[in-house]
C-alpha cells in the first residue's frame, strides 16, 4: 500500500468504537455485533462497547469450537462464530402474508413494508463476500426478493479486517480475504500491542466517510497504516486451502466418485452446514391456519437440501440417500452456483467445517474428489437407513 492510499486512513481509539455505536444508534440503527453468549462469540443486537467480546478469542477445529481468553483486550480478536449476518438480512423465520377472514371476504395483510435498520459492526471480509453472494441471489436476477432487498438497502456496514486466521479459515484460497476492499461503509483494522490499542479506519462510502468525520478520527500515520497492512498479511497465512482450479468441471465429472459413498457414512444429514453457511439461502413455505379458520398465514423458514422434503415432488423425494444430498450440496455450492449466479457459493469462512457435529471438511472432500485419497476412514455402515435408499 502506498502513501496515497494511506492518506485516506484515519485512526480511532477504543473509546471511538463506543462513540461509533452510540452514533449509529442515534442515527436510528439497531447495531448488531459480536458478543459472548453460551460459550461462543455470537452475532446479536448490541447496545454498548462492553457488549463486544473484549479479550476473548476462539479455538476451532472440525466439529469443535471453544471460546478462550486472550492475553490482551482485543475487541475483534477471534475468527468467525456460529452465526453469520444472514440471520438479519434473510431471517430464519418470516411471515410473508397474514390473512384474516373479514365477513365473506379475506383481508390480506402483507408483511413487507417496514424493515429494520441494521448497522453491522465487525463484518469480516469473507462475510462481506457472502453478503455480496446473497445480493446476487436475492437482488441480482429477474426477481428481487422484497424482504431481503428491504433489509439490505438500509444496512450500514462496519467491516473489520482479519489479522489472524483460524484453522477452519480458507478465505485466502477463495480470494475473499483476509483484506476487504469493497462492500463496506467503514473498515477497521485493529492494532493491539504493548504501545497501542487502536483502529485504523478507512471509509468505503460517502456515508462511511461522514461517520468517521463525525467521530473526529485523526489521520493515520504512514507507519500505522503499514502496521495495519502487515497484520492483515499475517492472516493470509492459512493452513487450510481449497484448490479451486477447474472445480466446476471437476465436480460435474465426478458424480460417481467413491468419495461420495465415504462421506455419506459420516454425514448426519442434520443440515447444520447449510444453516451456518452465510450464503445458503434455501427456504420452505409453510401455510398455517387457526382452528377457527379466522386467521391463516404463510411463513417462510430456512430449509436445507439435506432434508427429504426439500426434494419431494409427486411420488417422493428425488434425493433419498444422504450421499445424493451431500453431493447436491457440495456440487451446488462449488460448481453449479457458478453457472447459476456467476460466482462460487463458498467464501471460505469455514463454518461448515467447525459446526459440522462430526467435523466433515469441505476442503478435504474436494481434495479427495481430486484423487487425493479419502481423508477419514468410513464409519462401519451397519445397515442404517441411508443404505436402503
Amino acid at each position: 500500500m502506498g502513501p496515497t492510499v494511506a492518506s485516506n486512513r484515519s485512526v480511532i481509539e477504543v473509546e471511538g468504537i463506543a462513540q461509533l455505536i452510540a452514533l449509529l444508534q442515534r442515527r436510528g440503527y439497531q447495531v448488531a455485533g459480536p458478543t459472548l453468549r453460551d460459550g461462543a462469540i455470537a452475532c446479536e443486537i448490541i447496545n454498548k462497547l462492553e457488549d463486544l467480546p473484549a479479550g476473548w478469542t476462539d479455538e476451532q477445529a472440525p466439529g469443535h469450537y471453544r471460546v478462550k481468553k486472550r492475553n490482551d483486550g482485543a475487541l475483534f480478536g477471534y475468527s468467525v462464530g456460529p452465526q453469520s449476518w444472514k440471520k438479519f438480512l434473510h431471517p430464519p423465520e418470516l411471515q410473508l402474508v397474514e390473512l384474516r377472514r373479514d365477513g365473506a371476504s379475506l383481508k390480506i395483510l402483507h408483511n413487507h413494508s417496514v424493515f429494520p435498520h441494521f448497522a453491522f459492526l465487525g463484518v469480516r471480509p469473507c462475510e462481506l463476500a457472502a453478503i455480496a453472494v446473497q445480493d446476487r441471489v436475492f437482488q441480482g436476477g429477474r426477481f428481487t426478493d422484497p424482504h431481503y432487498d428491504g433489509r439490505r438497502g438500509q444496512v450500514f456496514i462496519v467491516a473489520v479486517q482479519c489479522t489472524q486466521a483460524g484453522p477452519s479459515c480458507f478465505c485466502a484460497s477463495m480470494g475473499t480475504g483476509p483484506r476487504a476492499r469493497e462492500g463496506f461503509d467503514v473498515a477497521l483494522t485493529e492494532i493491539i500491542d504493548s504501545d497501542h490499542h487502536l483502529f485504523v479506519a478507512e471509509a468505503g462510502t460517502k456515508a462511511g466517510a461522514e461517520v468517521l468525520k463525525e467521530l473526529h478520527a485523526v489521520p493515520a500515520t504512514p507507519v500505522l497504516c503499514q502496521q495495519a497492512e502487515e497484520s492483515i498479511r499475517h492472516a493470509s497465512v492459512q493452513t487450510r486451502q481449497m484448490d479451486t482450479a477447474g472445480i466446476r468441471d471437476l465436480l460435474y465429472e465426478n458424480f460417481d466418485h467413491p468419495e461420495w459413498d465415504n462421506v455419506a457414512t459420516r454425514c448426519l444429514s442434520c443440515a447444520n452446514c447449510t444453516m451456518v453457511c452465510p450464503t445458503c439461502f434455501c427456504t420452505t413455505m409453510e401455510d398455517v391456519s387457526e382452528v377457527t379458520g379466522e386467521h391463516a398465514g404463510r411463513w417462510r423458514r430456512w430449509d436445507s437440501c439435506f432434508t427429504q422434503s426439500f426434494s419431494y415432488i409427486h411420488g417422493g423425494s428425488v434425493r433419498t440417500s444422504s450421499k445424493s444430498r451431500f453431493r447436491q450440496w457440495m456440487t451446488h455450492k462449488l460448481a453449479s452456483w457458478i453457472d447459476q449466479f456467476g460466482t462460487s457459493g463458498c467464501v471460505g469462512c469455514g463454518r461448515c467445517i467447525t459446526w459440522c457435529p462430526v467435523g466433515i471438511e469441505i476442503t478435504e472432500e474436494v481434495h479427495a474428489i481430486r484423487g487425493g485419497g479419502v481423508n477419514a476412514a468410513p464409519i462401519s455402515k451397519g445397515d442404517n437407513i441411508h443404505e436402503l435408499a
Binding site: H64, Y65, K87, L268, C270, G293, S304, S322, V358, N384
Partner: protein, 250 residues
C-alpha cells in the same frame, strides 16, 4: 382421545393449550377425553387421538375396536408411536420384573413387549414426542379440520435449533446431543436451556446413528452411555434400538 399405557402427559398437552382450547372445543365435539371428563359419547368418531402403547392382551383387543370407530386415527406421543419408556422392558425379562416389583405377581397379566399402535392397526398420522408439542397437536387438528396437510417436519432437531439461534452444544461444549438423529417438532427446547437433546421425538427421517455413535465416542462417551442415549423414550424405534444394540455388541 383414547388412552393406553401412558402417563397422560400427551393428553394434558391439549388441556395445556389454553389459548386454543376453547376454539378447539367450539370447532368439534369432544366425544371422549379422559383427563377432562368421564363422559363418553358414542362412536363412530371423525378423529381418534390415541395416547399410549399396547402392553396387555385387553389393550391389544381394545385398539382394534377403537380403530373401527375412528375415520382418522392419529397416535400421539412416544408411547403410541414407539412403545414409550415402558418399551425398555422389551430387552429385559418381564417375568423377573413382575416377580421383583409386585407382592402378588399372579395378579399381573402383561405382554412381554410394549409396542406402538401402528404394530397393531393402520395409523393415519403420528405425532412424536415425550410429551407431544401442544402447537403440533393444535396444528394437526386445524389442518385436519381445514382438509390440508399438517406441517409436521421430519428433519433433524438441528434445523429448529439453528433457526432459533442456539449455539450448537455438541460443537461448542462437547455435549453428546441427540439432535442430529432426532426428529424436530419440539422447537429445540433442551439445547436452548443448555442441555443436549434427549431424543424424545424419536428418529428423524434418515438418522445416521453409526456416525453419531462414532462422534459420541470421540466426545468421550462409553458404550453404556451411548446405548442409554438411544434407549430412552424411543427405545423400541428400530433405528434407535439397532444403534443401542450395536453399542452393546462392540
Amino acid at each position: 382421545m383414547f388412552k393406553f399405557a401412558s402417563c397422560d402427559g400427551c393428553q394434558l398437552s391439549l388441556l395445556d393449550a389454553e389459548d386454543e382450547l376453547l376454539s378447539v372445543a367450539n370447532a368439534m365435539e369432544i366425544a371422549c377425553f379422559p383427563e377432562a371428563s368421564r363422559t363418553m359419547s358414542k362412536g363412530p368418531y371423525d378423529i381418534g387421538l390415541v395416547e399410549g402403547s399396547i402392553t396387555t392382551h385387553q389393550d391389544a383387543e381394545r385398539i382394534q375396536k377403537v380403530r373401527r370407530q375412528c375415520r382418522v386415527l392419529v397416535t400421539i406421543g412416544a408411547c403410541a408411536t414407539a412403545g414409550g419408556i415402558q418399551a425398555l422392558r422389551n430387552s429385559q425379562d418381564v417375568d423377573e420384573f413382575v416377580r421383583v416389583v409386585y407382592a402378588t405377581p399372579q395378579f399381573i397379566s402383561t405382554l412381554k413387549l410394549s409396542t406402538p399402535i401402528a404394530e397393531h392397526v393402520p395409523v393415519d398420522f403420528e405425532l412424536r414426542g415425550c410429551p407431544i408439542n401442544k402447537y403440533q397437536l393444535v396444528e394437526l387438528i386445524s389442518a385436519t379440520l381445514a382438509g390440508r396437510k399438517p406441517t409436521v417436519p421430519t428433519y433433524s432437531v438441528c434445523i429448529e435449533c439453528k433457526r432459533r439461534g442456539t449455539v450448537c452444544l455438541a460443537v461448542a461444549k462437547g455435549v453428546a446431543c441427540m439432535g442430529p438423529v432426532t426428529q424436530a417438532g419440539c422447537g429445540a427446547i433442551c439445547p436452548s436451556f443448555q442441555r443436549g437433546c434427549y431424543g424424545c421425538y424419536g428418529p428423524m427421517e434418515t438418522p445416521n446413528t453409526p456416525a453419531l455413535t462414532n462422534q459420541f465416542r470421540i466426545l468421550g462417551q462409553d458404550d453404556q452411555q451411548i446405548a442409554r442415549a438411544f434407549r430412552a423414550f424411543n427405545a423400541w424405534a428400530w433405528q434407535f434400538r439397532k444403534a443401542s444394540e450395536e453399542c452393546k455388541r462392540t
